[in-house]
Symmetry: C2
Subunit: 305 residues, 2 copies
């Protein structure tokens, strides 16, 4: 089924305890697309870049089967730029610099033949821009997944709440779930957030895994302990891309299948952090991805009887 | 099989965002014993209290089948006292006061008929005191589990490393595993710690669950999201008590059975935090415990095929 990914495409400077990388390709939409491309080729992106964005990177996406008709390339302008530095525990980072550039006045335009997409991934962006995308669909897509962050809760809560009315799945971390709901208990937070619109809440817990909650149903996926985590940048977007890519491929949004999607998303994210930027995501095979998903099963399986 | 639990029995002052409780009964050995008593009655404690410790509390333990022959009651002295305050996220706490009292000069003495115990739980104590206990066994017990904390790594690392040579299972949290091993990656930390003696490493991650590692084998149990966490005090000890209690009951130290023990330990800990102090641990039934263990299965189960 068709999948549209909306979000940033960017240059990143990343500093971790293991090294520094400058002007590497990043952005939510980029990570989502690379990750999802392992599961579906009916994949379209809606994003904006400046003419400084390397054609080679766009060609690589096209070669992965990604349709770029919805990509705006702004002549004479610069792409979004982000610089961040991770603390030694890798769970926290400081944003050192953000240059919106082309993003400052981004109005996404869906190509006419993409206005009936089945699956939609709204990467982390200004909520009002996410809403602009939603308003362009002819009918409600089968599944809309939204990623957001604490920054929008601090600065644009009303607008975020408006978007949430049109969303099926929200992905946030545990602190953001607490902030959005005003509840400390994640069980209570889930109840509050589901009343805002999304029937499904995914809580991303980094090295501690991920949680899926819908009504009385709950699923907790473990985090896979890794020998090395080189660069956590893009892990959440890669997770989201694997999650929705798997759903689009299987076209099954039952809770049981969403659990599998969480595992494939987690597997993709576990690869992402093993190298800087998109490096690892560009070199995977489905055999590796299947084996990694089975690792999650191996480490979490038990029988009480 | 026989189980000996060594550790503190104490008065606690506890302050959480939900309330305050003063001079309630606490201590590692107390929590371990209450928790383990749901699984085995061949249970013995080695500990010390002052004569201020309520006889009623000791009678309740006896009624649970706990043998108190190894308990020293010091006339005219005061029991160990601890006061702590939890931050709003409940994952961090400040120790406000510690009064060692009888613990300052505690030398545990195992009753002669307990020197061939099968299962031994060394609750968090000065490593040299834990070693005194180990040295009193006639032969090496079937399984020795040790709990410790960052304080002993800061102040008595050499002594702790000496004890670890005689231990089969160590239970610590993720930051302590990093401190003890000098490795950030928990996979690497596990390799280093296993070389220190313990064949099994259990990493307690609080609301994020628990991890068991031995050689190439790994198991991750989820944390059970709760509506309310009233008081995390004693959760780690309760976990340890349920873990070793289940192993002593089943007398099976295979990796598969240790996974089940982790789940029963986690179930006991999830009850512990629902009320202040020992309150919830004193009112459980095996039906409730079984149902809670099955909750862990329900929220973590998935199939890839």
């Amino acid at each position: 089924m068709s999948l549209i990914s909306i979000g940033t495409m960017a240059f990143d400077n990343v500093e971790t305890p293991f090294g520094k990388a400058e002007n590497i390709i990043g952005g939510a939409c980029t990570y989502i697309s690379w990750s999802a491309s392992y599961f579906t080729q009916d994949l379209h992106i809606v994003a904006v870049v400046g003419d400084d964005f390397p054609q080679k990177e766009l060609d690589e996406l096209t070669a992965r089967g990604v349709n770029l008709d919805g990509l705006q390339i702004k002549k004479g302008e610069k792409s979004f730029f982000w610089a961040g530095k991770y603390h030694s525990n890798m769970n926290m980072r400081d944003t050192l610099d953000t240059q919106l550039n082309v993003l400052a006045d981004f109005h996404p335009v869906l190509p006419p033949d993409q206005r009936n997409a089945d699956y939609v991934m709204l990467g982390n962006l200004t909520p009002s821009v996410q809403l602009e995308v939603i308003n362009q669909f002819i009918e409600r897509p089968k599944l809309v997944v939204l990623d957001t962050m604490n920054f929008w809760m601090d600065t644009a809560m009303d607008s975020l709440k408006e978007v949430l009315k049109h969303v099926d799945v929200i992905t946030i971390n545990d602190e953001e779930a607490r902030q959005l709901s005003g509840e400390h208990s994640l069980v209570k937070a889930a109840t509050v957030i589901q009343k805002m619109g999304p029937k499904y809440l995914i809580i991303k817990k980094g090295e501690h895994g991920a949680m899926l909650i819908s009504g009385d149903e709950m699923f907790i996926a473990p985090g896979l302990p890794l020998e090395e985590v080189f660069d956590p940048t893009g892990a959440g977007d890669t997770f989201a891309g694997g999650f929705i890519g798997y759903l689009a491929m299987t076209d099954d949004i039952s809770f049981d299948n969403m659990k599998r999607a969480i595992i494939y998303g987690s597997a993709m994210a576990s690869f992402c952090v093993e190298k800087f930027g998109l490096e690892k995501l560009k070199e995977l095979t489905m055999v590796q991805i299947e084996a990694r998903a089975r690792e999650f099963k191996r480490i979490s399986d038990f029988n009480l009887d």
